[in-house]
Amino acid sequence: MYEKNGEKYYVVDSHMHFWNAAPDNWVPGAEQYAKGWIECFHAYQSLAPKETHWTIEKFMKYSEDDLMKDVFEDGYVDVAVFQPTYLKEWYKEGFNTTERNAALGEKHPGMFVHNTRFDPRDGDPGLDDLKRNVDRYGSRGVKLYTAEWNSGSRGYKLTDPSAYRYLEKAQELGIKNIHVHKGPTIWPLDKDAFDVSDVDHAATDFPELNFIVEHVGLPRIEDFCFMATQEPNVYAGLSVVIGALMHARPRFFAKVMGELLFWVGEDKMTFGSDYGIWEPKWQIEGFVDWDFPEGDEFTDYPRLGVEGKKKILGLNAAKLYDLKVPDEYQLKEATPADPDDAKLVSS
């Protein structure tokens, strides 16, 4: 919970991690990728305020205590959503698996949502794994990493028939939320690596599922926005948007926020810190204080008020995951009306 100027914000960190990228977890022969990956993540951290930077050693493997302190104790988060990323071609036990997350999460009942993942290239055994994870961890969401390397393939599309088979199965198992990460080096390499058109098709064909595009399709925000404006079940995951831009590039941040508010709207944007890339504390404090800078270039955009910030920081994600939010954090307009008033209006 975060409180500022008498307003109380219920905070759901809808995109965070508990990874091990230390050398003891690198796959022999793939060390350069394992190292390259975590160094790339570490470079992103450099876009945060200096006092929140970590050494590369800590960044490769932070502890349970670090996470609990940074996210909950100092970071105002009420509920955090684990988003696993496997990368088992590079990391022996995986980078950030459902099991590793759950081993931590199960010690702290009610504080975490345990999402799982699938990879449509894993065939029938992968479907069994998905069912096992849903049964075991109660997962209501999955994180999909379409650019993941797998047995010589360097990625897949949500429109692949095998992906549709997995989406059907996920829906049948009670999964509601599909978090899609669009990342580099999708196969085949000659196509645009960040194309979001497959999400567009899948969102149309699976209207019961919600598709949260993490990092709002950056660096293809224009393709993402244009797609999201046409698909009611597509959401903008703000992980990376706040972390990479709010401090380092405030004017670009304002423009990106403006575009998202314009095309997607405050009801379909969700906060995610992307911890351990960035700590949530400074992101939440800065976001609550944030407003558009002065300047003609920002006049086209819808404004964002306290209520909108409450939705983005927690209430929207709480809806997606059916989290019970205490009344004191709800929007004032959401208070149930007196039944007598309703009768008067309808008569």
Binding site: C40, P219, E222, R249, V256
Partner: protein, 227 residues
């Protein structure tokens, strides 16, 4: 030599690789042997864009007079080996990534010049609005109505690259695919897309510059100080 490399753009960011800081070093010997080393913000930057930049750098350097040998290579990238070997052998993208790609990159390049055209249109329109033009009148304007500026020149170059009209009587707002003029009714949505595209490019550039700064302490050859 740097002036030649200024002509090579990051296709996505639509900015020269020199000012972006992507040219780590550029050395020319008295005998005309040229060695260029390129670098990118991350180890996993998209290989297709990386290939285009290395190949374009090779081409502009090779075309200069008095150049005897050319050695252009990308450093610190997961696909550097394949890209450098492919460019040096003038093999093309598909041959360099056998089994992982089936098309050359012309289409990809065109997609991003199209985005650059939209972003450039937003830049020019904003200048016009700031100077007093009514937003509702933009659809009726021609290139001849746009006062000279660096932004106008840049827009004309992008239009020329796509084979679109650049004469004074040509409409300012055009469909980048067909070249046909945008109607007054279609203009608000078109201008919104143009603004959005420019925002995307600028945000990416911001992130890329920040990451490059973290990765390399040394300023690149021809790199522009960050604003």
């Amino acid at each position: 030599m740097l002036a030649a490399l200024d002509l090579v753009r990051d296709p996505e960011l639509d900015e020269p690789i020199t000012t972006l800081g992507f040219v780590a070093t550029c050395v020319v010997s008295a005998a005309g042997d040229v060695v260029v080393r390129l670098r990118l913000p991350t180890y996993f930057c998209a290989p297709n864009f990386a290939f285009l930049m290395v190949a374009d750098a090779y081409d502009v350097v090779s075309a200069l007079p008095d150049v005897r040998t050319v050695d252009v290579a990308l450093e610190d990238h997961f696909a550097a080996g394949q890209i450098n070997a492919g460019v040096a052998a003038r093999a093309g993208f598909v041959a360099s990534f056998e089994g992982e790609a089936v098309d050359e990159l012309d289409e990809l390049r065109r997609t991003f010049v199209t985005k650059a055209l939209l972003a450039g249109t937003d830049q020019v329109c904003r200048q016009l609005i700031a100077a007093g033009t009514d937003r509702a009148d933009l659809a009726g304007l021609t290139l001849g109505d746009v006062p000279p500026s660096a932004e106008r020149d840049r827009l004309l170059r992008r239009r020329a690259e796509l084979g679109l009209r650049t004469d004074a009587a040509a409409a300012l707002l055009i469909d980048p695919g067909t070249g046909s003029a945008i109607s007054a009714a279609g203009a608000p949505k078109y201008l919104g897309m143009a603004r959005l595209t420019r925002t995307g490019i600028e945000a990416n550039t911001g992130i890329c510059r920040g990451m490059l700064l973290h990765r390399y302490a040394e300023t690149g050859a021809g790199e522009e100080a960050q604003g």
